[in-house]
């Protein structure tokens, strides 16, 4: 089998890459969630992560002022009532307890 000269191979790859992009005039990748905002370990952390990260990265949580259960209950209720987060009552309770413990004042 004859070897393909590398400039042609390069051109072929470029063509493939371009066709994969399709007809978009601008396309950007979405960087992954940054590790600096990882949730603290503790009871309820998995439920909290699962329920929250479907809509936003965890920096939305860790940057907030520390607060008691009342503050975090207000936040979780807002996510459910205003933003329509599909979180059941049991999980909501777990999340509030986790946040008030790990991000309490």
């Amino acid at each position: 089998m004859r070897r393909v000269p590398w400039p042609w191979l390069g051109l072929l790859l470029l063509t493939l890459a371009t066709s994969a992009i399709g007809s978009a005039d601008k396309m950007i990748p979405m960087p992954p969630d940054h590790a600096y905002a990882a949730l603290k370990p503790g009871p309820g952390v998995e439920v909290t992560r699962q329920q929250c990260v479907s809509c936003h990265s965890t920096d939305y949580i860790v940057m907030q002022p520390r607060g008691d259960a009342k503050q975090w209950d207000g936040v979780v209720t807002k996510m459910i009532k205003v933003f329509g987060a599909p979180v059941n009552d049991q999980d909501a309770k777990t999340i509030v307890e986790y946040l008030a413990t790990q991000y309490g004042n």
Binding site: G22, S23, A24, D25, K26, M27, I28, P29, M30, P31, P32, D33, H34, A35, Y36, A37, S54, C55, H56, S57, D59, Y60, M63, Q64, P65, G67, Q71, V75, V82, F83, G84, A85, P86
Partner: protein
């Protein structure tokens, strides 16, 4: 790194490692900038597509803030311009062959405009204007408030070029009795229950303001995707919440639009200061609107050591909600005596106004420089920060702390 303490150096290295692990890019040596500021402490510098190193507030939806170093000049580079999205997923791809700006609702002739249509069917208009997030500096509120804990970098100034919104609405023919137009972008929430980011402006206001644009150019280039490619609304003088990015639909409506992002979102107390006693709730609110007067010292950076008896140059920017900056003043004695700084070129009443002044520190030890601005109707900045529960409208007198000797 010479001015970094050992502990800071260790932290900076740890942060660099975390960034590399997360696939981010960092400019080593500058990660110390955030250390000086309690609001920015611990936040990494990240490089998103088409952007340079910016301070990460949130990854998704992305919120990135501009380091203060960029505010020693009037124009903020596109790659350094802050980013703020509300809902996820955000648009990552635009195909101009299919992208259209639709104008619908209470109009005689609904429109579907391509980018070429925007450029060729309407006169080209330009305005240099500040785009500042309503919650810029929210992290400095005391008592603290919930929300994006921004430092001071959720602002930028650019020359915007586009079609006038009033010309587009005139082409569509707004019907008698229409009250508002709503603006929607390509960002669509993952769940239908999440309120889509839609904003509104009064028709009367739009038709009376030739500087409101659908902008397709920013500082002479197409908009970065994260700043609204291919076109965004530009509402000079008003907070960035109205400057809808990746604009795709304008709907003319009969009443006042009051979905989530107009009510209860983005409201301020209905009084002259937009403020209430800290920790209390306002009785009545209105949609946030015109920006308050602000001024910043961008150079030198806080904590810089300067020699006694040798002049240094203080530099920064000032802006307001569209009357234009009249004067910038500096005080080096805690606000007893104020003296006028030199103003840079006037790029229009909606733009950042550069200012600079020479100052010779005399006393060795810590020194504090205050800055305040006045606009053309005499509005200025206060010594005590005003407070409201959403953390909007911050415009307290800013300061810079230096070490002399």
């Amino acid at each position: 790194m010479s001015d970094l303490s050992r502990r800071d150096a260790v932290k900076a290295i740890a942060r660099f490692g975390a960034l590399v692990a997360a696939g981010g890019v960092v400019r080593p040596g500058t990660s110390a900038l955030a250390q000086d500021d309690p609001v920015l402490a611990g936040r990494p510098l990240v490089r998103y597509p088409e952007k340079t190193d910016l301070i990460l507030l949130t990854s998704r939806p992305p919120q990135l803030e501009t380091p203060m170093e960029y505010f020693d000049r009037a124009i903020t580079p596109n790659e350094a311009f802050f980013v703020r999205y509300h809902v996820f997923p955000i648009p990552l791809e635009v195909d101009l062959a299919t992208w259209r700006l639709r104008v619908t609702g209470r109009v005689d002739r609904p429109l579907e405009l391509s980018l070429d249509d925007l450029k060729t069917r309407f006169p080209r208009a330009a305005v240099t204007a500040v785009n500042q997030c309503s919650g810029n500096s929210r992290g400095r509120f005391s008592p603290r408030v919930l929300g994006g804990q921004w430092g001071d970098g959720a602002m930028g100034n650019a020359e915007w070029v586009g079609a006038r919104l009033k010309d587009i609405l005139a082409a569509a023919g707004v019907r008698q009795g229409a009250v508002q137009a709503t603006f929607d972008g390509l960002d669509r929430p993952a769940f239908p229950s999440v309120p889509d980011f839609v904003k509104s402006l009064d028709i009367a206001r739009i038709m009376d303001d030739q500087d409101i644009l659908v902008a397709y150019q920013m500082n002479g280039a197409p908009l970065p995707m994260l700043n609204g490619y291919p076109a965004r609304l530009v509402v000079p003088g008003w907070y960035a919440t109205y400057w809808v990015k990746n604009l795709s639909e304008i709907e003319v409506v009969d009443g006042t639009f009051e979905k989530f992002w107009m009510r209860p979102g983005y409201r301020i107390p209905d009084n002259a200061c937009g403020c209430v006693t800290p920790g209390t709730a306002p009785a009545r609110t209105v949609p946030i609107n015109r920006m308050t007067v602000r001024s910043f010292i961008a150079s030198p950076r806080p904590g810089t050591r300067v020699a006694a008896g040798r002049p240094i140059t203080l530099k920064g920017i000032a802006f307001d909600g569209g009357y234009g900056i009249q004067e910038v003043q500096i005080s080096t004695d805690g606000g007893a005596v104020w003296r006028r700084a030199d103003l840079g070129a006037d790029l229009g009443r909606y733009s950042f106004r550069e200012w600079s002044t020479a100052w010779t520190p005399r006393q060795p030890g810590p020194a504090r420089v205050l800055v305040r601005a006045f606009n053309r109707i005499g509005e200025s900045q206060g010594r005590e920060a005003l407070w409201n529960p959403a953390g909007y409208l911050r415009n307290v007198i800013e300061h810079l702390d230096l070490q002399v000797g």
